[in-house]
């Protein structure tokens, strides 16, 4: 009576459009030259998206490209190339994969490396580095790239990731963070104007920012639908459906995507269609980027009746009203306030609960709202900036909230050499047994 493996019942049709979306982003970088547009090697979630969109600069997302290489299990050649120039495997593999790719292209006199996933990514005309004053690879990566792309100008700015101190009232500090961020954004605009030879159209930027705000709200409305039981969509899909928000913010395509996803999820709820049938355990993906080469592991969870109605990763927005942003006619000031408050709006809650931290408050809120039975963290060894504190978060969660089953998975974002499917599934099996033990304890 060997246990049957049950596959994932349903994935969303809307998520199935994402590969086309990502391909579109990559091919836009290749077409840009014909269209007379500039390509910027860019980094996500640091306030620059809307500036680029408003100035017709085409972003070439290095993280996305490395993620595609990983998902296609085709990153090794680029990682090895970077390693040959002494870029250690323990450095960010988003960075080393992309650096390896650019190294090969430059060695070939600018010709696209053969077999580059989905046609490859266009050569940048500029590099806009940023790392939220947190992610050091994102300001070392542009500098390293400049060793190979010698003619490409680099400009590095950082939004300010607001520091957390339980004894400090951040409300008094916020305006200084905002001032700093605005300065960085203004300098980014100046740099882009210099490279493109065009002046910023401030009305256009304001319209782009307004569309971004609408997209943030729609994204939250849509993802909140996943609170339904059974949940109509889990993190396996969300690691795809984050693409328009993360890489296409400020575009109509991104907004329209979530309109469609919203419609589909409502229909699934009306039809009672869930991700797993039956849905036995609800989990939160509490932290960590996924292993892009092993997204099928979500289906493995689903096959055991475990679903993820919510994740912290790539939920890079919040309902605008909740952030209580000061009114301003300056779109850069709005971007800065939105950025700072996106983080600090958890700080008051964290200060109220002794021993808590904002990241854990966020996890607790999602556990409560989405009625989760357990938490899964993924610790990617090559990402120090975002993953170093994961075990601490898990410990704090258990200490200040409640005794809840927690699984910490270990792997990487791009480097498949760290991954063993059988061992990973063994851990998931053991975790599901732990969830069941907690469940039966609650019943008794």
């Amino acid at each position: 009576m060997a246990e049957e493996k049950k596959g994932r019942a349903v994935a969303t049709q809307t998520a199935a459009r994402i590969p086309k979306f990502v391909r579109g982003n990559l091919s836009a970088t290749l077409k840009a030259k014909e269209e007379g547009k500039k390509v910027a090697k860019a980094y996500i979630a640091d306030g620059q998206d809307e500036i680029m969109r408003a100035m017709d600069i085409v972003p070439a997302w290095g993280e996305s490209f490395s993620g595609v290489c990983a998902a296609k299990r085709d990153a090794e050649k680029y990682l090895q190339k970077a390693e040959s120039d002494n870029f250690s495997r323990s450095l960010c593999t988003y960075a080393t994969c992309h650096i390896g790719f650019e190294m090969i292209r430059e060695e070939q006199g600018g010709a696209m490396p053969e077999g580059a996933p989905w046609g490859g990514m266009g050569r940048p005309d500029m590099i806009l580095g940023n790392g939220q004053l947190l992610c050091d690879p994102r300001f070392k990566w542009p500098q390293a790239l400049q060793h190979y792309l010698r003619d490409v100008p680099v400009f590095i700015t950082n939004m300010y990731y607001p520091p957390w101190d339980p004894n400090t009232d951040h409300h008094e500090q916020e305006k200084f963070y905002v001032k700093y961020c605005m300065e960085e954004l203004r300098e980014t605009v100046k740099f882009c104007e210099k490279i493109t030879g065009k002046k910023m159209d401030w009305d256009r930027l304001a319209a782009v920012v307004e569309l971004s705000d609408k997209t943030w709200d729609l994204f939250i409305d849509t993802y909140d639908l996943r609170k339904a039981m059974p949940t109509p969509m889990d993190t396996g899909d969300a690691m795809n459906t984050m693409v328009p928000l993360t890489f296409n913010l400020g575009t109509q395509e991104a907004y329209d995507f979530y309109v469609e996803l919203n419609k589909e999820l409502k229909q699934k709820i009306a039809d009672g269609v869930g991700v797993a049938n039956p849905e036995k355990y609800r989990l939160i993906w509490a932290a960590g980027l996924p292993s892009w080469f092993a997204l099928n592991d979500f289906q493995y969870f689903n096959g055991k009746g475990a679903v993820f109605p919510v994740e912290v990763t790539y939920r890079g927005c919040e309902r605008i009203e909740r952030l209580d942003l000061p009114k301003t006619n300056d779109p850069l000031e709005h971007i800065a306030w939105r950025w700072v408050r996106y983080w600090t709006h958890w700080y008051d809650a964290a200060r109220k609960r002794p021993g808590s931290i904002p990241k854990v408050e966020r996890i607790i809120e999602y556990i409560e709202d989405y009625k989760c039975d357990g938490a899964v963290f993924h610790s990617a060894f090559s990402c120090r900036s975002w993953h170093a504190g994961i075990i601490h978060q898990a410990d704090v969660l258990r200490k200040i909230y409640k005794d809840i089953p927690i699984l910490i998975m270990e792997g990487d974002i791009v480097d498949i050499s760290s991954y063993n499917e059988a061992d990973t599934h063994n851990r998931i099996d053991a975790f599901v047994e732990t969830l069941e033990a907690y469940k039966s304890k609650r019943k008794n």
């Binding site: 060997a2 047994e433 732990t434 907690y438």
Partner: protein, 282 residues
Amino acid sequence: MGDIKYYAGVDIGSTMTKVVIVSDRIETALIGPTGPEHRKLANKVMEDALSQAHLKFEELSYVVATGYGRINVPFADRQITEITCHAKGLYSLLPTVKTIIDIGGQDSKGIRIKDGKVINFVMNDKCAAGTGRFLEVIADSLGVALDKLGEVSLQASRATPISSTCTVFAEHEVVNQLANGEPVANLIAGVHESIATRVYSLVRKLQIEKDIAITGGGAKNTGLVKALEAKFGSPVLVPPEPLITGALGAALLGKEKCERAILDGYNPTRSKEGLQEAKLFS
């Protein structure tokens, strides 16, 4: 045999296969090698265990398979991970234990338990350092039988520091130290200390609570247990037969499932597969 019911647990580890048959007590426990050829022959170990207990396969009420090879046991009624089984098995033997260290052939684990149930676990399955494999490699290099490592290490005047954490480089380091005249006992004590350090850094992620116990092949090495006690700053309990706790837990979980099913008014179904070897490549 009357109304006595029998339950079997089969633990297919990376190097050893273990079978335990229980009723209201442990009827029999048997350990055989896994190895490449034996991997498909869990049925043979089961046959030997049945023979030792004077039982027929048909007399077993339920069979639970565990360990890395659990999926390839055609005659098992259910598969449960070794994490859950170790917790159950060890709790039945040493009920005061809250933290388990398991040092197996190819991995090491830490398990936190409460009332016999797993509340958290960590695994090292990415690196041979901190596992039984590390000890095998070093034993080979030093020409000391694996089961004598513990005894020899207790004669050490000091533990020679081994700085390489990689098994391959550590072996090289040990061979170099040996060539420099370092006594074998000191080198083995150094290796034990190195493993204890690795295991401690793994298990401390669990917020260790006493009592602490050790299972798996590593538990049979007295030198390693001593090094772990020094590192954890606490006695480390060793069950009477540390290799069988997984299989014992599997058998007990099968028993528990059947007894609960009967209380709920139904008989758990047995696998239709007879006692046959695993078909690994079909």
